[in-house]
Symmetry: C2
């Protein structure tokens, strides 16, 4: 296995960034089932892409797999883990302790993968002081100070739409490297802050579209 | 404005299906602000795509906008609403009344757009009988009968990973046209059932990747 350094690359297509976590999920499933090795054909079928797609995607990061042997599941899983940055610990703060915030704060897989919610903030007096996923909810007024005292890598926004931009501004000023936004808002963030949106409503609309246009071809 | 029929089309790229809901969200924002008309340049900037991208995407469905005039916001919004199937009512059932299920059941925008959760199911005796978003939670054992009595268009899965496939099977057998899956599982569904996944964990991994590879180029 040969690794490539970033300098070898001309750029990583966004589609690859979307596929790598899918590869990782399937490889983790295989690894949990103690599968040691898989042919590139089987892996491609399981994931639902072509063999050449996998080969091409992975070739951006090095050379994996062997002709006629396939892939060593655990080796590839660990390598993708490294590429995705899952081998490093990422502290996170969560702002907005509604149902969605609670769901995320209680999600067991995050901690397992090194993503650790160290603080939770809300504006509701009824919610402040509650313990969610082992963390006490603080007043959102304390967010700025908290980030000064203890910087985090990622800020999660699960607030209503109308306050999301204000929270994003505080998070960016507080030095987060990435914002994971669940509010149905179009946020503006500085160039050095990575923004990843989960727009649940858009996913439902896409489902609706696919149902209405079932039977038509997709490219 | 000329509409195209599906027969004119060779196929709708999946990327377009992802962009249409984004266009719709921005047009709704503009419409709420009572903006009547927008130039194609302004619309493109707001959305963050090129003018020709918007033109090309919309051309799959008809001819919209006028040279030198731009788009009539409400006309385009209503047209995209129709393309997305949001002008038709879609009844849904939700299976899994944990935090995430509760968040979705309480999401006000769904009902506004014609998506209506008519029944909620769970397996926990403590949760069965509770009222969530105005709907009483039923025993998941009743799901099959419920779908027979009152068919729905969409089934939402917010269960743990290990039971998600079993629920998908019951939903498919019960005649749903689409499954909106939030469980971190790879579901198998019949060809005539549309599957849309929201894999929250994969989105977090993508964010992690983008943070780790910040400064490298993206295509």
């Amino acid at each position: 296995m040969t690794r490539r350094t970033p300098k070898d690359r001309e750029g990583i297509p966004l589609a690859v960034i979307k596929r790598l976590p899918i590869y990782y999920r399937h490889l983790t499933e295989l690894s949990d089932k103690e599968v040691e090795r898989i042919s590139s054909r089987e892996l491609a079928e399981k994931i639902g892409v072509t063999q050449s797609q996998i080969r091409q995607d992975l070739s951006l990061f090095g050379s994996f797999g062997q002709q006629g042997y396939g892939y060593r599941v655990d080796e590839l899983r660990i390598e993708i883990e490294r590429i995705l940055g899952l081998d490093r610990r990422a502290d996170m703060v969560l702002v907005g302790a509604g149902h969605l915030g609670r769901a995320l704060a209680n999600y067991p897989n995050f901690k397992k993968r090194g993503f650790n919610i160290i603080a939770i903030f809300d504006c509701s007096p009824e919610v402040i002081g509650q313990i969610i996923g082992g963390v006490r909810v603080q007043d959102v007024q304390e967010l700025e100070d908290s980030l000064l005292r203890r910087p985090v890598k990622i800020g999660i926004i699960t607030t209503p739409e109308d306050v999301a931009q204000g929270i994003a501004d505080v998070l960016a000023k507080g030095g987060v490297e990435g914002i994971w936004n669940f509010a149905p808002a179009t946020l503006r963030v500085p160039d050095d802050v990575v923004l990843e949106n989960v727009h649940v409503g858009e996913s439902l609309m896409a489902l609706s579209f696919k149902i209405e246009h079932k039977g038509e071809l997709y490219k």
